[in-house]
Symmetry: C2
Subunit: 106 residues, 2 copies
DNA sequence: TTGACATATATCACATCTGACATAGATTCA
DNA sequence: TGAATCTATGTCAGATGTGATATATGTCAA
């Protein structure tokens, strides 16, 4: 599991800010981090473009403001599932999600 | 939550085979199902192309054969997280994942 | 300053997902 | 036929993600 390793790192005082803050990530691991970052940025952009607050959006998604903040921060405690679901709710199409996912980051 | 609704449907005797077997799905819900199906197909294709069994691949992924079977079946009990992780492990790039995600299905 | 609003961060009980395991079906080959 | 191999399906305890909540920080106008 990947999440387990992440937890280990976090327990050790690590924070995930951007993909570059980690070295020694396997290709899969860094790709995963990059995806998370790319999707979370797209989410924030879309929410801001829609002119709604995290609180409002949380209600639309059936989630909470705190989780939206974590979503947009690329916090590793949020799943890609929720990230993608959020993008769809904020108006992205499947294709949009794919584009966002592939978008180069940092 | 979406998973909750899914569970409700499953409890009611539903099975997800393909996206079309559901009607009355919200756009987000059906997009999500389509994504799952598209990714799972890509996964199976890649694994078969690599010429390895589910059991072998499970070991590479750090998972189990039964879960690989469920992954490839698009079983709603598996997360997009695991699905995407599996694709990366089987050799897909971030771009490949994006392409697979957007691929039209059935 | 203050107050109002937006966002960030921490915690927690509970829902969901997980790998492991058991076992059933499918297919192939002697 | 039957053994061997691969895949499908069900179950479960334990790991992980979840929304809710509280509270801190940030921003901006009065």
């Amino acid at each position: 599991m990947d999440a387990k390793k992440r937890k280990r790192l976090e327990a050790g005082g690590w924070k995930i800010g951007n993909a570059a803050s980690f070295i020694n990530l396997s290709p899969e691991e860094s790709a995963l981090v990059d995806m998370r970052v790319a999707l979370s940025r797209s989410l924030r952009e879309r929410r801001l473009a829609a002119g709604i607050t995290q609180t409002t959006f949380a209600r639309q998604l059936g989630s909470s403001q705190s989780r939206i903040a974590k979503l947009e921060a690329g916090d590793p405690s949020v799943s890609l599932d929720l990230l993608i679901r959020a993008l769809l709710v904020v108006g992205a199409s499947r294709k949009d999600v794919a584009t966002a996912l592939a978008r180069r980051v940092a």
